[in-house]
């Protein structure tokens, strides 16, 4: 990786400083959720539905309750019925309130039926076996088509659910956004192409599954120690689900072993808290890997149809995008993921005056989809960028030329920004930084695009090809996300940085410390970061929507600037010079006029113990009025075994504009990791189901994710860019990388062998079938 940029002179920002938690992580010292051992802890386990759709006629827990060591069993008959959503989003939640702690009905194989708290895991599991449940099995539907058909069973027929778009027709959410006149747009176009691409069920597979410990502190407040991306949303949603006052709940996020979106959901915290409340004892719960696959959350399987109309010179004139999203049994993130299919893709090509984005998120009797890195954009870009490749071919244009002709530039806007927001209308926005043109140039050079594109290489059975795609994302959610930070100065001139932002392995603790350190003129080592404890840190919506660097980072920047102001004021008194003549760097406050200086530790000491004693501290919040998109150009080279259909990604180049990378190496890691996940989507990842809706490969033996041995040579380039609204010029990088591999690999396969793969993953079987059919 290299940073092709000359930055403003900074001493901490833009540097690959040592991660604030790097050494302790390597030494295995940080405490993860389950690394606590509270006396008297009970083990919680969930009884899952064996049926895809059924009414619970009766539950007999008498035998299970009689088992020695069983402390409590909860089910719909003995808990309060309160509708809520498990989606950890800002208030008011855009996802329907269609979930209950336990319901009278089960809606997928793996749905919650009951929960047990027992003295040991063995006893809990034995108790689950002893619970007798009588089901009335109902007809089930396993695809949006079946669910939308006339006479389909109604999955959410409960009367107390709210926020469902059309429960009678199993439609959790729907969008319909017309701009201009789409039919006129196509009729005025010289060339029209259409591509329909499909993504199946896939799962985040974080190394640490969902896990939670719920217990009472000495004052009787409920403490939820949990592996989450959204501690403050956990507090609010659990309070609602259990009817508890929020001040009685404290949520602690310890070290997290990855999330990728699945931990933006409340899937265990509500149950663990309910069991702890009922028993008065600590309760630990952890999903098995099988539960993580089936009962946590997945990507929304989706079929996206894109129709493009263009003028002969390649200028896009009309874009229609239709998405059919499968939200599974519950509508977690149904509307917002669906919205993002269009809102994060269509602005990329803002030249077309006629747009129509429409779609439905449909309930089925399959596992529940939720947030997953890319959040709809991944699904949208697959179809959009494959369609762009087809359009380039039809026009006889190089795919890069077509992108250059149409992509948004700094100073430009798109009506989509205003039309589609997070579950409601968005806000108008002008893109202030866009280096996609440079990304395309650098990426093309690195992969050897023009040379490789001009001739197809064939060696025996192996056919080689190159493909490309572009993508953008956002940086936080405009007008909704809020991040806050508190910085306190210690008397020795060091600082405490308290943030609600949630480092789930991304390195955001380090990045936020860098921002504070830069403003306060100290090395990162002088900042102690404490993140995500609802009792101790200020509010933050959490780690999602590519928001932490931009949203929480700006809050840190503002807080640091205020603390800096307070420091200069104290120093001004000590140096007897006006604050505006002073500057702060190298842990010193120095007078620009006289050269006199005081150290930060002297300032801290002065303020704490000597004169006008007070705590130097500030809290600042930030709600982004804009969501500047990061841009990436993806290029890859594949080899296709024409005899077997095996596809090997040989090389991957991604050139990204993430503004100024606060920590280039961490930005590189985000991009590389997202690309690897995207390669998994493209080549291997797919959950399979029986005709009764049972997941057949809910384990890592059968469900294959790329290992280090599968990862090709990935080159990441961060091009020169600066986002004027971002902290030190930064915008996001966390998600955009996952949007490119699916279309880039599909387009490269097309270049290699002349067949288009539009259904992921591109297994040997699908590739060979396509070769036999179209090749």
């Amino acid at each position: 990786m290299e940073v092709v940029a000359e930055r403003k002179r900074t001493s901490v920002v833009g540097k690959n400083v040592r991660k604030v938690d790097g050494v302790v992580l390597v030494c295995g010292r940080p405490k993860f959720t389950l690394d606590v051992d509270l006396p008297g802890t009970l083990v919680g386990k969930i009884l899952h539905s064996p049926h895809a759709h059924a009414e619970i006629v009766s539950i007999d827990t008498s035998k299970a309750e009689a088992l020695p060591g069983v402390a409590c069993i909860l089910h719909h008959g003995n808990v309060e019925r309160i509708p809520y959503t498990t989606a950890g989003q800002g208030w008011p939640e855009p996802s329907p309130y269609d979930s209950f702690l336990f319901d009278r009905k089960v809606r997928f194989v793996g749905d919650r039926v009951a929960a047990v708290a027992a003295e040991s895991e063995e006893v809990a599991e034995e108790a689950l076996r002893l619970i007798r449940v009588e089901y009335k099995v109902l007809p089930a539907v396993f695809s949006p088509e079946e669910a939308l058909a006339d006479g389909a069973p109604v999955i959410h027929d409960e009367e107390d659910a709210t926020g469902i778009h059309d429960a009678q027709h199993n439609i959790a959410a729907a969008v319909d956004i017309p701009v201009g006149d789409i039919e006129r747009g196509f009729s005025e176009s010289d060339v029209v192409v259409e591509a329909t691409c499909e993504i199946p069920y896939s799962q985040h597979t974080p190394i640490e599954p969902h896990c939670t410990v719920a217990y009472f502190d000495e004052e009787g407040r409920l403490v939820i120690r949990t592996s989450t991306q959204v501690p403050f949303h956990v507090r609010r949603i659990v309070a609602r689900a259990l009817g508890l006052p929020m001040e009685r709940i404290r949520v602690i996020k310890p070290r997290i072993g990855g999330g990728f979106g699945t931990k933006q959901e409340i899937v265990l915290e509500d149950v663990a808290a309910a069991l702890a409340l009922r028993t008065g004892r600590p309760v630990v719960m952890v999903y098995t890997r099988e539960e993580e696959f089936v009962c946590a959350r997945t990507r929304h399987p989706m079929r996206v149809r894109v129709k493009l109309g263009a003028k002969k010179d390649g200028t896009l004139h009309a874009i229609e995008m239709e998405a059919t999203s499968n939200t599974g049994a519950y509508g977690a993130h149904a509307l917002t993921v669906l919205s993002n299919v269009g809102s994060k893709t269509l602005p990329l090509y803002n030249k077309a005056p006629h747009l129509h984005f429409h779609g439905k998120a449909v309930y089925t009797n399959l596992p529940v989809a939720g947030a997953y890195r890319g959040y709809g954009a991944t699904q949208g870009y697959f179809a959009l960028e494959v369609a762009m490749d087809e359009l380039a071919e039809r026009l006889g244009m190089d795919p890069i030329e077509l992108r250059l002709k149409n992509h948004i530039r700094a100073g430009e806007t798109s009506p989509i920004f205003e039309k589609i927001g997070e579950g409601r209308e968005g806000k108008p926005m002008v893109v202030r930084s866009c280096a996609l043109e440079e990304c395309l140039k650098v990426g093309a050079e690195r992969i050897g695009w023009y040379e490789k594109r001009s001739r197809r290489r064939r060696e025996g059975r192996w056919a080689y090809g190159v493909g490309m795609a572009c993508a953008m994302q956002g940086s936080g959610i405009t007008g909704i996300d809020m991040g806050a930070a508190t910085i306190l100065m210690n008397e020795d001139g060091s600082f405490r940085l308290l943030v609600g932002a949630t480092d789930l392995g991304t390195g955001s603790d380090t990045i936020l410390a860098q921002i504070a350190a830069e403003v306060l003129g100290v090395p990162v080592e002088r900042i102690v970061v404490y993140s995500s404890d609802t009792d101790l840190t200020p509010f933050d919506v959490g780690a999602y929507a590519s928001s932490t660097t931009y949203v929480s980072g700006t809050a840190v920047l503002k807080a640091a600037e205020e603390v800096r102001r307070q420091i200069l004021e104290v120093a001004a008194g000590m140096l007897e010079e006006p604050p505006e003549d002073l500057e702060l760097s190298g842990e010193q406050v120095v007078s620009k006029k006289t050269g006199k200086s005081v150290s930060l530790s002297e300032v801290g000491h002065q303020a704490t113990y000597v004169v006008d004693q007070h705590q130097i501290a500030a809290t600042a919040s930030f709600v982004p009025p804009e969501s500047p998109p990061p841009f990436t150009a993806f290029f890859c080279e594949v080899a296709v075994d024409t005899e077997t259909g095996v596809v090997r990604v040989q090389r991957f180049v991604a050139a990204a504009d993430c503004g100024v990378p606060i920590h280039p190496k961490l930005a590189e890691g985000q991009l590389e990791g997202a690309i690897v996940q995207g390669i998994g989507h493209a080549l291997t990842e797919e959950l399979l189901f029986s005709d009764k809706g049972r997941c057949l490969n809910a384990n890592l033996f059968d469900y294959k994710i790329p290992s280090s041995l599968d990862v090709p040579h990935i080159e990441v380039v961060l091009v020169k860019s600066e986002e004027p609204t971002g902290p030190f010029g930064a915008k996001s990088i966390a998600e955009v990388g996952i949007n490119g591999p699916l279309p880039a690999i599909s387009n490269a396969i097309y270049h290699a062998v002349g067949v288009r793969l539009k259904r992921a993953p591109f297994t040997p079987e699908r590739v060979l079938a396509a070769l036999h059919r179209d090749g």
């Binding site: 063995e122 059975r461 005899e643 077997t644 259909g645 095996v646 080549l683 291997t684 399979l688 057949l696 490969n697 033996f701 059968d702 294959k704 994710i705 790329p706 290992s707 041995l709 599968d710 297994t763 040997p764 079987e765 060979l768 079938a769 036999h772």
Partner: protein, 284 residues
């Protein structure tokens, strides 16, 4: 399911002790070497575990151009052994390098691969092609059989009361090659193939061909072996092989791959494996 019922853990000093412990438990104990399959499909009925890794059965010895491999030798142990590296130009190591991932190869034993003999596994296909022989002991004494014979019978029943002691790989004057199709680098096979050829005076003198993960366990294509003998290696022959295999090899579907895909690729797979074996002989 985990090994919840375990009451005792034993370290057997020798085969005799392992056998007597097995017998005492009357089916409620299992032998433990690498433990890979025990962990994968843990049995709730087990009360005893008998560790057999301290019985001197971890070794690789060269004998007359062949190999004698102790049953508890790990795959990594074999990969690191000079004699194994030299055996058939490194063929067996080439196979083992494609089995699972390094951490699993550090645990998994060759004996475990023989005793479990998963249909999708790579090692059985290679052992069948090589004509490997296995030795085991039970209360009646010592036994030997080719892996083909063993796996045709009720081998799982045998090993409930027996200790596999050694796997012997014979010497061959010729070359072997192995090919595998899988979804990822550490994946089990969607289809695999091991082939050996002896070439004299430009013609195939003997041939061994085994195909596995069809999804059934690796088995020889003796009709193809017979056909190959006397033929001259070359593209024409490989095309013929491809067509014959596609027409005659029985394949079917499982959730990893369909029978139709296996049918389409099994011919090319066998042909390319044979071609590589011939190339190793310097005669393609």
């Amino acid at each position: 399911m985990r090994l919840r019922g375990i009451k005792r853990f034993h370290y057997a000093r020798d085969v005799e002790e392992a056998l007597s412990l097995l017998s005492a438990y009357q089916g409620r104990a299992a032998l433990l070497a690498g433990g890979v399959d025990l962990a994968r499909a843990a049995r709730g009925d087990l009360e005893g575990l008998i560790d057999i890794t301290g019985m001197g059965l971890s070794y690789v010895r060269e004998e007359g151009g062949g190999l004698r491999i102790g049953a508890t030798t790990t795959l990594t142990g074999i990969l690191e052994n000079k004699a194994a590296q030299g055996y058939l130009g490194g063929f067996f190591c080439e196979v083992l390098r494609q089995v699972a991932a390094p951490p699993l190869r550090n645990m998994a034993t060759l004996g475990g691969a023989v005793v479990s003999a998963h249909p999708w596994a790579d090692i059985p296909t290679a052992l069948v092609a090589l004509g490997a022989e296995v030795r085991w002991s039970d209360e009646k004494g010592e036994h030997r059989a080719s892996v083909e014979e063993l796996w045709q019978g009720q081998f799982r029943k045998i090993f409930r009361n027996a200790v596999l002691t050694e796997i012997r790989l014979p010497a061959w004057e010729g070359a072997f090659a192995f090919e595998k199709l899988s979804r990822s680098a550490c994946d089990i096979a969607l289809l695999n193939c091991a082939c050996g050829l002896g070439i004299e005076d430009g013609k195939i003198a003997w041939a061994r061909v085994a195909v596995g993960a069809t999804p059934r366990r690796g088995r020889r294509l003796t009709w193809l072996e017979d056909f190959l003998v006397g033929n001259q290696p070359g593209e024409g022959l490989w095309r013929e092989v491809r067509d014959r295999v596609e027409a005659q090899v029985e394949v079917s579907s499982d959730r990893r791959a369909s029978g139709a895909w296996r049918k389409a690729v099994v011919g090319p797979l066998v042909a390319r494996t044979l071609k590589r074996a011939a190339e190793k002989m310097g005669d393609a």
